[in-house]
Symmetry: C2
Subunit: 336 residues, 2 copies
């Protein structure tokens, strides 16, 4: 590919390599005519600076990494897809780290990245705070859907609380009163927020929160199945179920179908995420949509600003992306 060096470009333009370097990194400080001449020449011969040489002299860190805890989960796969697309657009190499929900793997990946002077790391929900804290000491970090203590780390997340609350309020409007909740993993901030939204929606409508109506899952399809099985052991079945993500909702629906329990006739169902992947059942799932593109774009922007050394702004950012209730065909109105 590009066989030219900065010296040759300089010679071609009758200037010095220093100046060429300047138009590369700080175009404003070189006089317009010369700058344009250099830019044109670079264009013509298809010059691309040698990335290794650049990074050698500018001792800056470089490259991005993205941690996800389970790449088989379509929600996270989607995040991988978006972020890697954005990174490539900017010409920044991205290392995808699928930790398989394993702290040891987190550690190994992180060690490796820090050794390689990684420029920044984006963590999706599900990565341990220990890993994140360690990373923060050596490099820039941004969290997606993973809250830390207020303001300590930059983070972008969906409005999990409002999304959950809205979902439950929708069920309440449909006259449901006994609403089951399939929660996410304990201690995950996003899961806790969704639980809180569920609780608050109930209590603000004078329905007492009943822990027996909560089944804890791990976000995988299978735990939706177990959750439904659990709910069916209750003396009174819930008339509706709100699941902390689509996959568990689909697991529950699937199990219901096998048992000849109709969704929505017997039980209404709402999910969370709106993974396009799962528009597969012919009854379309009602769900709270997370705006994954916005989530990723936003996280990426913050990271870019950090990489550019925007240290003037010492305060860490926290951005909340609104969710949207997507009404499908899995909820039915109970007769008053």
């Amino acid at each position: 590919m590009s066989k030219y060096t900065i010296n040759e470009i300089a010679k071609l333009c009758g200037t010095s390599p220093a100046t060429v370097s300047r138009v590369l990194n700080n175009p404003d400080i070189v006089a317009a005519p010369l700058r344009e001449k250099i830019e044109n020449t670079m264009q013509e011969v298809g010059y691309k600076p040698n990335p290794f040489a650049s990074r050698l002299s500018s001792k800056s860190r470089w490259g991005l990494a993205l941690f996800v805890f389970d790449i088989l989960n379509p929600f996270f796969a989607m995040i991988v897809r978006r972020i890697s697309h954005l990174a490539m657009e900017q010409g920044i190499p991205l290392t995808v780290c699928d930790t398989e929900n394993n702290e040891e793997k987190e550690r190994i990946y992180l060690d490796y990245l820090l050794d390689n002077k990684i420029g920044g790391i984006i963590f999706a929900e599900g990565i341990s705070m220990a890993t994140i804290e360690r990373a923060r000491k050596y490099t820039d970090t941004v969290l997606i859907d993973r809250h830390s203590e207020e303001g300590v780390v930059s983070e972008v997340s969906s409005d999990n609380y409002s999304g959950a609350r809205q979902a439950v309020e929708y069920l309440l409007q449909l006259n449901h009163r006994r609403i089951g909740f399939i929660s996410g993993p304990e201690k995950w901030p996003s899961a806790e927020e969704r639980l809180r939204g569920y609780k608050d929606a109930l209590e603000l409508n004078d329905i007492k929160f009943n822990p027996a109506l909560v089944s804890q899952g791990d976000l995988r399809f299978e735990s939706g199945i177990s959750a439904l099985e659990y709910f069916l052991t209750l003396p009174e079945w819930p008339t509706a179920i709100f699941s902390a993500n689509d996959q568990m909702a689909l697991g529950a629906m699937n199990k219901a179908q096998l048992l000849n329990i109709s969704v929505p006739d017997d039980i209404s169902m709402i999910g969370f995420d709106n993974i396009p992947y799962y528009t597969l059942y012919n009854t379309k799932l009602t769900t709270v949509e997370q705006n994954i593109p916005a989530l990723c774009q936003s996280a990426f922007n913050i990271m870019m600003r950090k990489l550019e050394g925007d240290n003037t702004e010492t305060k860490e950012k926290r951005i909340i992306i609104p969710t949207q209730l997507k009404i499908g065909e899995t909820c039915r109105k109970l007769i008053g």
Copy 2:
């Protein structure tokens, strides 16, 4: 992290940087006592060579990339998981390129990688031959489950033909005679091989191949659904369906359930892949297992050998990994 340079190590050991470099890259040529001393010192102070400096002087290419056409497909997500794990173990940065089944994206990713002097690229099935051919000119390549013309590119693949044939023969043993096939995308070598396995199994058992019993899919769940719908329009339904991957099989099963058609009582079903992800239905899918870990390990090994410049062996390798029929609960024996 590592703040030491090769010069400091040299000084610490009373030798020259050249020698330190030698123990790094070619340990055999330095005398044992000195070598050990240097090795120990590096160990002690936690020295890690600066990757950028290395790559600058040794003008070698570096790093790996993995192309998949759809990271939301669990089969490919699994490949991403395995390969990125292997790469990290070797301390080699990996760039994951999810092309979203889009040739333009393939092109952009490839340009980017070549500019960055990528060391090698692993292509999974689904990437266009044009992209692969172009990559081959500039860097090392290995294909997973993607055949090229015989012997031109190194490739590792499952034994698609035998796997398919075995699946169909199993159905024949169960006295099925009208067997539908949900194929993969046209022109995909792996898909063609599975189709060929299907055909041959039939014809070797004196059953005429009937094109009406083949429905072409795109590997996604949805196309399994459409395939089943298609089969049901036939005057005589197939008694069994062999699907070119699990996802489509599951789509078909799902649709069947909704229509109150029982698998396996009304229709038997066999998939291909054995994605662990999909052990979710309580009727376990009978399927042809691809040995993904072996597939990935093998591809990775070949790549490593290429990276180490094993040019002595000019011949490209082609490795076939056996598949295994996993008998689940979705096939039933017809009465003779």
